[in-house]
């Protein structure tokens, strides 16, 4: 334990892992799925072809399922760093994930409405919020600072 810490201190900062590999893998899903849902929402609004709205609904559910453990993991990471200089960064990361996930949940219900109501202005706005916050959270997570190891 002590040895590992010392050796990591001697390495260049690029090699420090900011998040556990499993955390990184789980986070990849909401980034990809919320971004895809935003695209399929836009195609639905342009085509009125229901299948695109159905795609969005499944993509959002997938993003929520994989996003939930990431959010929990980030909350634990925040708690463990509450008296730590990395605290602010961990807090921003957690809040981004929280906004992403709650907007996604509301959007899952929005997409459960029927026909044209399944997306609409509200649905695509929520998709934008989730996609952008997921990308921002990914930027922080993959940028090498220690936040949720």
């Amino acid at each position: 334990m002590r040895l590992a810490t010392q050796s990591s201190m001697n390495r260049p900062s690029m090699s420090r892992r900011s998040v556990h590999p499993l955390h990184a893998i789980l986070l990849a899903f909401p980034i990809a799925l919320f971004a895809s849902a935003l695209l399929s929402d836009i195609i639905y609004l342009k085509s009125a072809e229901m299948q695109w709205s159905n795609f969005s609904a499944w993509l959002i559910i997938g993003a929520l399922v994989f996003g939930a453990p990431v959010l929990l993991w980030a909350a634990i990471g925040l708690f463990r760093r509450r008296r730590n200089p990395e605290r602010t960064r961990a807090l921003v990361y957690f809040l981004l994930l929280l906004v992403m996930w709650i907007a996604g949940l509301i959007n899952a219900f929005k997409h459960s409405q029927d026909a044209w109501s399944s997306v609409g202005a509200a649905g695509v706005a929520l998709s934008i919020v989730s996609a952008l916050t997921a990308l921002a959270a990914g930027w922080i997570a993959y940028s090498g600072e220690r936040i949720a190891r």
């Binding site: 009125a48 499944w58 219900f109 026909a115």
Partner: protein, 445 residues
């Protein structure tokens, strides 16, 4: 962990949805039901009455009337036909093969299944013979087997017509037969792709020259795509001699039962309207069926009230939509229709019996009863009255009425209950000739 997260969110959202409980006192029956503003919620209010058996108890009927369970342990009984000799045919089955296109279909499908019988549909017609009319059939046989979700039944000129979920079949019937072998003759295929609303209701014109088939929409409001709605939400007129069919009326979301009014010989239908616009939208209805009419679905409801969920909209078509005749209340789910006539039921001599399967899309349960709409001169005249109640007790469902069939010759109302899998018979204070066979015209709907 994640399913629990989802469930928590679902419960929180349901609590939000529950707040929009609606106004129970709103009068939504009769010729001009009050229509509140659209109330689309993120989660539709859902309340399912969980099933519980009758445990030897029976539904409530008006004073002087008697109700008897004539057959139990059926396999999802839906519609009933009384044959000229008094034999009862019961169509049993459960159809539809809609894919689960999105997460909602999985979740809502599960929740709705909590309010249904777990028995698998029989895909058959059962015959009940109770020659002495004591309510205990001496004979119970499988009349026709290997059907595909049979629903509508009609007897015309010695032929029995059965509306499967995908075809209208014809079987030769001879008086007193207790079973019919074979697959029957296909009169016409019926639209059956997906079959979101699968029931094919059926009625024969009084002279027997035409058949009318009710074909429900393939979605609530077009959410499976409007291309799947061709030949849906219509009533077909079928000529049994030439097998030709044509659209008789359109825009009629789910016409679940058809019957001819005996004094005017007009075709009437009960229709299930759309969901998820609020607890008091849209009223289900009873209407005379006017040839060539457009009743609005999916673009508008109750005449020309536009539904914003359909895209692209069709304002020119909406201008042609006509309002139905008589509101039955929102979400009551009428599935049975039969007209009274004769003197067997004092106080209920002229009017329509309506089997109301009951609601899921509102907090305050509606339907779950057989009601009676009084008629005069072939038109509704007055507010609906409860005829058979007691299907709900302490918030749980003991039964759910579907088809109702009035047998004027013998003074009996037959009710199919697809939750307790029972056929009920209501008789009046002075039963008419329950035991004796009568003329061939009797018992046809």
């Amino acid at each position: 962990m994640s399913p629990r997260f989802l469930l928590t969110g679902l419960l929180a959202a349901s609590a939000l949805a529950a707040c929009s409980g609606g106004d129970e006192s709103l009068d939504q029956t009769g010729a001009s039901p009050k229509l509140p503003a659209l109330d689309e919620t993120l989660v539709p209010p859902m309340k399912i009455a969980k099933p519980q058996g009758w445990n030897g108890e029976i539904p409530t009927v008006p004073k002087g009337f008697t109700i008897t369970p004539v057959a139990t342990d059926l396999k999802i009984p839906r519609q009933i036909l009384v044959l000229p000799n008094g034999d009862i045919l019961v169509a049993e089955g459960s159809g539809g093969h809609a894919p689960k296109s999105r997460p909602k279909d999985v979740i809502a499908g599960y929740i709705k299944s909590l309010g249904k019988s777990s028995v698998k549909g029989g895909d058959r017609i059962t015959l009940l013979r109770d020659a002495n009319g004591d309510g205990k059939p001496e004979l119970r046989t499988t009349f026709i087997k290997d059907l595909d979700a049979p629903y509508g039944l009609a007897l015309v000129n010695g032929n029995l017509y059965v509306a499967n979920q995908g075809a209208l079949l014809r079987f030769a019937y001879s008086d007193g037969a207790t079973s019919i072998a074979g697959k029957g003759e296909e009169v016409t295929k019926l639209p059956s792709q997906i079959n979101h609303h699968w029931t094919k209701s059926l009625a024969a014109s009084p002279d027997g020259s035409k058949l009318y088939v009710g074909i429900g929409s393939n979605s609530n409001i077009g959410e499976r795509g409007l291309s799947l709605e061709e030949d849906r939400a219509v009533i077909w007129e079928v000529d049994p001699a030439t097998k030709a069919s044509r659209i008789y009326v359109s825009g009629i979301r789910n016409p679940t039962a058809l019957a001819f009014e005996p004094t005017s010989n007009m075709l009437w239908a009960v229709v299930n309207e759309r969901d998820e616009l609020g607890a008091e939208l849209v009223p289900d209805y009873l209407t005379s069926v006017k040839e060539g009419a457009f009743y609005g679905w999916p673009y508008s409801y109750w005449g020309q009230h536009v539904d914003p969920r359909v895209h692209p909209q069709k304002p020119d078509l909406v201008k042609t939509a006509i309002a139905p005749d008589y509101g039955l209340g929102s979400h009551v789910a009428p599935l049975g229709l039969s007209f009274a006539s004769g003197t067997g039921f004092p106080g209920f001599a002229e009017g329509a019996f309506i089997g109301e399967h009951g609601s899921w899309n509102r907090q305050h349960l509606a339907g779950y009863k057989v009601s009676f709409v009084p008629f005069a001169g072939g038109k509704p005249a007055g507010k609906p009255r409860d005829f058979v109640t007691g299907f709900i007790k302490d918030g749980r469902a003991r039964g759910r009425p579907v088809g109702v069939t009035y047998d004027a010759a013998r003074g009996a109302l037959w009710i199919a209950d697809d939750l307790s899998n029972t056929v009920w018979r209501v008789t009046g204070p002075t039963p008419l000739a329950l035991a004796s066979p009568v003329g061939p015209a009797a018992g046809q709907k």
